[in-house]
Symmetry: C2
Subunit: 195 residues, 2 copies
């Protein structure tokens, strides 16, 4: 069996954005630390595994069967916002603009990384469309996000449900000159009448 340092390095290197070198730095930090950081992380990890799971309806992390959004009766059940990650839900919640429910894909279709539609909870999304009037595809405006949105739109539209995506364009408070070419082109093509 690998020695404890190698074993923990390999385990931590599974975290997103963490390579071998960074993982090793974490391990040596934990070894030299005298304030119990290792035990604290281990305990919090065990608690997460024991107490948290994903909402069986929308996939957002939850301490019960249904998450806070799915179990909130004041939320508009006729509106579903599809996102890539739970972090996107938190970002949208911070705007206080949205009062519908969510559906978290935990990824997007990405053939290069071997993620096909069958790896995402798309069947679960389609099973929720009864009584839904609009699905907002709030996927990132990237190649993969756009492709996934198109794929979902083709499955959802035939059910007579309106499908929308958030607008893309120049960021609020940001100078036109600093917007990248693709964003600015989209912003000009999607220009809106004033007054």
């Amino acid at each position: 069996m690998a020695d404890p340092i190698q074993q923990l390095t390999a385990a931590l290197a599974r975290l997103p954005g963490v390579g071998e070198k960074t993982a090793q730095r974490f391990v040596f930090f934990l070894l030299a630390d005298r304030t119990g950081a290792a035990r604290e992380i281990a305990h919090a990890l065990a608690r997460l595994a024991d107490e948290m799971s994903l909402c069986r309806q929308c996939g957002f992390p939850s301490q019960g069967e249904l998450c806070a959004y799915c179990s909130d009766p004041r939320r508009d059940g006729g509106l579903i916002c599809v996102v890539q990650n739970p972090q996107d839900v938190l970002a949208i919640e911070r705007t206080a603009e949205y009062r519908g429910r969510y559906h978290v894909l935990h990824g997007v279709i990405n053939p290069l990384e071997g993620v096909g539609p069958d790896r995402l909870p798309i069947r679960e999304l389609l099973a929720r469309l009864d009584g839904v009037s609009e699905v907002i595809l709030a996927l990132n405006p990237t190649v993969e996000g756009d492709a996934t949105a198109l794929y979902l739109q083709r499955l959802i539209s035939p059910a007579g449900v309106k499908v929308t995506r958030p607008a893309t364009g120049v960021a609020v408070g940001m100078g036109i000159e600093y917007a990248d070419k693709a964003t600015l082109a989209q912003a000009i093509n999607s220009r809106r009448g004033m007054g």
Copy 2:
């Protein structure tokens, strides 16, 4: 008590170079992961805490009382290389140039971060000088590393032990034009005769 997500986010944010945002990304990754990464990390952390400690002589991580370097009789006990981190030991070992022992400070003197000499295992280093002919201060050539090296040199030299530091200069295989100003100045001042 904080909910499990907040608790683990706070615990992971204690790792070096990990902020609140990165820690949150780790947590959401672990929540969505179905391959048992969380349990794997928790288990490896527990093993680390149970089986590993720091060598009581040199401070390098060890499964026993003495690390692999301190317990190796083929190592030259008359030579001690003082380093800032365990990673430095691994880097020096990769050169296969050094056959002495080590002393790991787990830091350098850094008044701005509240690290005084009393927070480093300097007494332990001085207690090891019996029978030692040379101490190599392989601390990083930074303001803090230089200051710590000077501090240690003043304590070690009176014991009649030779104190050295690794040379600084232009990196091997690197163009002169790409060396930073301070490095190049040092390299010219420390120029050596040829042939």
